[in-house]
Symmetry: C2
Subunit: 206 residues, 2 copies
DNA sequence: GCATTTTCTGGACGACTGTCAGGAATCGGT
DNA sequence: ACCGATTCCTGACAGTCGTCCAGAAAATGC
């Protein structure tokens, strides 16, 4: 108790445990959603017991916020590669649209979980801070893409970051619901729409 | 039992009761959201007992879908007045933007309930049919506005109904979250954004 | 008035929830 | 090898949920 850390095991171990738990929990959450997921269900789909969840996280609330934060942390870097490597507007456009469609398909459960959480935050004020923060990082993510696209076009974005994000997010959410509903052609439609929309998000070239 | 109707009381009475129950339930649902609202809570905030809810609705699922359907039925006619009375593009533009902001403020609980339900439908397939149908009516609603606006401009819409709705809905949802979070300036921003966006939703005049 | 149907009440049931006290396992220091 | 402290986990608790139901109350037709 006299050591600086105050504990025998390193805090790294503790954090690693939290991350492992979060990763397992994310699978269940993505499958069942915010409310239908119980701590027991999370524990059952993992190697841990349901009590240990409460040992590492104060309550269900903290666990879920941690999970989504953890996921989105890597999520917002998804387009950084395309942004830095693209040398022409079209290249960036295709890369962005493709990756958008790709993540929609491959990580659909994660995305619907995010929208679920954001909807819940409209009712539960305790969720709002985390949601608004994540929303901000997503806004930045989109902004990096659009402003780089504008740069490659030799112009500047036409709208504010907020509005730009709002538009793209609306389309993405719509496509996600369509995809989950098994509606055909949704993916190509999203790709085409984004490609068509992007030029209108930047100022007309001089 | 030999009559054509098969019952003594008219089915109108039955439907009227369902509507009354739905209206009461909507208040609670708008306040607490889909999952945190229990049938007991709904009953408590009404003049009925919690058993009568199950008498008029098979289960919670049917009640909530009925409620949101019932609300959206009147919701989708909100802009019809503006659409028919406006004689200039600007008039329609202002009328639409104003009404959009008005309903966001005055019926915020209803709107967040709708987004809640739509998010839930990404997980529960049983909700999907109702959600997709409502989404379609909202798409039509937006389309009526935009195509009339195009007409007044002497042109035609530039995008598909789906995409047009996706864009507007994304902005609205973003503004709703901002409004509920107490972020200032959200209303004026929405109004200004819609006014600026609308011209880009129709083809440039010849 | 009675008989029948509709409407409503409020309690009971089983399943499930988040939570946590207290025991088991593990570990570092000696 | 042993002990006390720390870490981890199990079982049980109190509460809530949707649902169902037996029967009271009210409405209706004759």
């Amino acid at each position: 108790m006299t050591t600086a850390t105050g504990s025998r095991t390193s805090p790294d171990k503790h954090d690693a445990r939290r991350r492992a738990l979060a990763e397992s929990a994310l699978r269940t959450l993505g499958e069942l959603g915010y409310t239908r997921t119980s701590l027991r269900e999370i524990a059952q789909n993992s190697e841990f017991s349901h009590g240990v969840v409460h040992y590492y996280f104060r309550d269900k609330h903290e666990l879920i916020v941690y999970c989504v934060r953890y996921y989105k942390e890597t999520c917002v870097r998804r387009y950084d590669g395309v942004v830095t490597t693209a040398t022409t507007p079209l290249e960036l456009l295709d890369g962005f649209a493709d990756k958008l469609v790709e993540t929609l398909v491959e990580e659909a459960p994660m995305h619907r979980l995010w929208y679920d959480l954001r909807s819940q935050s409209m009712f539960e004020e305790s969720l709002r801070e985390a949601v608004l923060h994540i929303d901000g990082t997503l806004e930045d993510m989109v902004w990096r893409v659009v402003s780089r696209y504008a740069e490659l076009c030799g112009t500047v974005p036409a709208l504010t970051p907020r509005v730009t994000y709002g538009l793209v997010d609306g389309l993405f959410q719509q496509a996600l619901l369509g995809f989950l509903s098994g509606r055909g052609g949704v993916l190509d439609e999203l790709r085409a729409t984004v490609r068509g929309l992007m030029p209108t998000l930047v100022r007309a070239e001089a």
